[in-house]
């Protein structure tokens, strides 16, 4: 069949699913990637100096910036030796025309909850490390994610940004003065956070109930019949398996996903280590 460029463009608009199926039959995707290949990932750490820790992650075109601000607060009543980590994902209308101005939509709230679950389950930071004085003073880390360009796979980008930004955070040493009861902040002595685990998320889209593709773009997410996100840490432990409805998945396919997630973890860890080492001599 004679396919010229214009025909392809019309075909893609009118029958996107058929268009995709033709690529999937050849085991590749329109942007030239293999089914198991991620888009180019880049990360930039510490660019926002007003934030205590910051990271900008680009996963292909998807761009997410994470800024962390540390403030003081009283520890919660039920666990007086813990601090707080409060994530918030914002999908503003500037990142894509599908989002309208106004209060956070479903997707943003679901993403915020996902990140909160990842922090809780993976124990990336022990909340006990954030406590300064039992029952009196603790750190609260506000992790704010802003998506600047939306091209699918927000969850992976946010998790990566979170990890990179937390590695960049420097908290000053705080001591409580016994006489006055006030906190004294020593800005000269700053310590990085103790990052215990390194969770990395890998997302998949399910096509036609059978084919799994890694790192879907926005177009692929719209055409997919389901999505799966797997969060792993370095010891090969699963922190989270997130499959919000969608078409069914056999156990064998899920096992394939997990295997791919393990290799992705190695790639991401290497990238983060390289970036951290490049900024270390200060």
């Amino acid at each position: 069949m004679h396919m010229n460029f214009k025909f392809c463009v019309y075909f893609r608009t009118v029958e996107p699913l058929e268009y995709y199926r033709r690529f999937l039959k050849e085991n590749c995707r329109p942007d030239g990637r293999e089914l198991g290949e991620f888009r180019t990932t880049t990360v930039n750490i510490g660019s926002i100096t007003t934030a205590d820790g910051s990271a900008l992650v680009k996963l292909g075109n998807t761009t997410v910036i994470c800024g962390i601000k540390a403030e003081f607060a009283e520890p919660p009543a039920e666990s007086t030796n813990k601090g707080y980590i409060v994530p918030n994902v914002d999908l503003p209308p500037l990142c894509s025309s599908r989002f309208r101005p106004g209060p956070p939509g479903e997707e943003a709230q679901a993403a915020s909850q996902f990140i909160a679950d990842v922090i809780e389950n993976s124990e990336i930071i022990m909340k006990e490390d954030l406590c300064i004085a039992n029952g009196k003073l603790a750190w609260v880390l506000y992790c704010d994610f802003i998506c600047l360009d939306y091209d699918g796979n927000i969850l992976d980008a946010c998790t990566f940004a979170l990890l990179a930004a937390l590695k960049n955070v420097q908290l000053p040493k705080v001591t409580i003065n016994e006489e006055t009861g006030l906190a004294e902040v020593d800005l000269k002595q700053t310590n990085p956070l103790n990052i215990r685990k390194h969770p990395v998320a890998t997302s998949f889209a399910i096509f036609d109930d059978t084919i799994l593709i890694v790192d879907p773009t926005a177009e692929e997410e719209d055409l997919a019949t389901g999505t799966v996100t797997i969060v792993m840490d370095e010891e090969g432990k699963l922190c989270s398996v997130h499959k919000p409805g969608g078409s069914g998945l056999t156990a064998a396919k899920l096992q394939d996903c997990i295997t791919r997630a393990v290799t992705r973890h190695k790639e991401v860890k290497k990238l983060i280590d390289k970036v951290i080492n490049s900024i270390k001599p200060k």
Partner: protein, 336 residues
């Protein structure tokens, strides 16, 4: 001997420090106390040893992230002054915004702009996008449109396009975490100002019944937020291919000790003197927006507006070069 003015300044610094929880306030009589307090209020900044000459000025300069402290021997830095002298003049929280030799807190001259770096076409999803850095202020602007009206069709204008803006500051963009990124009074005011500015510049009659969205996000705020937004939005609109009457270039200006200062940073804005924000269409010298704060004698207004206009024209030169370079790059890539 404490002059009333100095005493007031010192009280100001101490009050400021007390507002920030947990910060240690040095003893009252300590020279340079004001500056040290101020420095301690800004997290992460190193305070140089007490007896270092010019320590007061250095402390002040170090309070502002990213500003280069000029070399000790440079005139006006206070390097040649014994530290007490430097501290007396500069270290009080009143801040000497303009030294006797004509240098500002970050080492610039009165009419000098901060370094402007800009890039266009940074995002794939948007029709037009731009990122600008003016000193430490980082802003990005994204334009969608012209497209069909979203939401209420009744708001459509029969003869022109509707310009819809949103100004938003990231929660981590300011020293203290900003609780409401948008929707608060200041952001709504900025949004309205942006809308009015761009309605004057964009040729809206070419697109009746449609909508042009301009979204601006501040990633790091260090003074001149509105101006950086306008400059970024101009570049983004050009990147989107929307026809405009002229570039819209904005700059702020202040007035200290009978000298107009161009392009104020956060410290200069917070000092509370008169400030003017000016958005100009450079070729035709038409003012799109002019806003003034605080009190200024009418005799000085012309000087200040003149300084702001000159700064806008300097910004125009930079933005124009950025646009030309970008177009050159894009046409080279397309191979045409």
């Amino acid at each position: 001997m404490t002059s009333p003015r100095r005493a007031r300044r010192e009280r100001g610094a101490v009050a400021l420090a007390r507002c920030m929880p947990g910060y240690e306030i040095p003893a009252r009589g300590t020279p340079g106390a004001g500056a040290v307090v101020l420095a301690r209020c800004m997290p992460g900044y190193e305070i140089p040893a007490r007896s270092t000459p010019g320590a007061g000025a250095v402390v002040l300069a170090r309070c502002m992230p990213g500003y280069e402290v000029p070399a000790q021997g440079t005139p006006g830095v206070g390097g040649q002054w014994p530290w007490r002298g430097a501290c007396r003049g500069r270290a009080m929280a009143g801040l000497e915004l303009l030294s006797d030799e004509g240098y500002r807190v970050d080492g610039r001259r009165a009419g000098e702009l901060r370094k402007v770096r800009a890039r266009m076409g940074v995002f794939a999803q948007a029709d037009g996008s731009a990122y600008i850095e003016q000193g430490n202020t980082k802003a990005l602007a994204v334009v969608y449109g012209p497209h069909e009206m979203r939401g209420s069709r009744s708001k459509a204008l029969h003869d022109r396009a509707l310009v819809n803006c949103q100004y938003s500051m990231a929660t981590f963009s300011t020293g203290e975490r900003k609780r409401r990124p948008h929707g608060d009074r200041k952001s709504s005011e900025m949004t309205l100002h942006l809308k009015q500015t761009f309605e004057a510049a964009i040729l809206t009659q070419l697109y009746p019944r449609s909508q042009i969205d301009i979204y601006v996000q501040i990633l790091q705020a260090d003074g001149g937020n509105y101006c950086a937004c306008v400059n970024a939005a101009t570049l983004a609109t050009i990147d989107a291919g929307i026809p405009m009457r002229d570039y819209v270039c904005a700059s702020s200006a202040g007035f200290i000790e009978d000298t107009p200062l161009a392009d104020l940073n956060y410290v200069e804005e917070a000092a509370g003197g008169p400030q003017v924000a000016l958005a100009l269409l450079p070729k035709s010298d038409q003012i799109a927006l002019l806003e003034m704060n605080s009190r200024l004698h009418e005799d000085h207004l012309e000087q200040v507006i003149e300084a702001a206009s000159k700064a806008c024209k300097d910004v125009y030169a930079v933005l124009d070069q950025v646009v030309r370079d970008h177009v050159h790059e894009v046409t080279t890539l397309l191979g045409e």
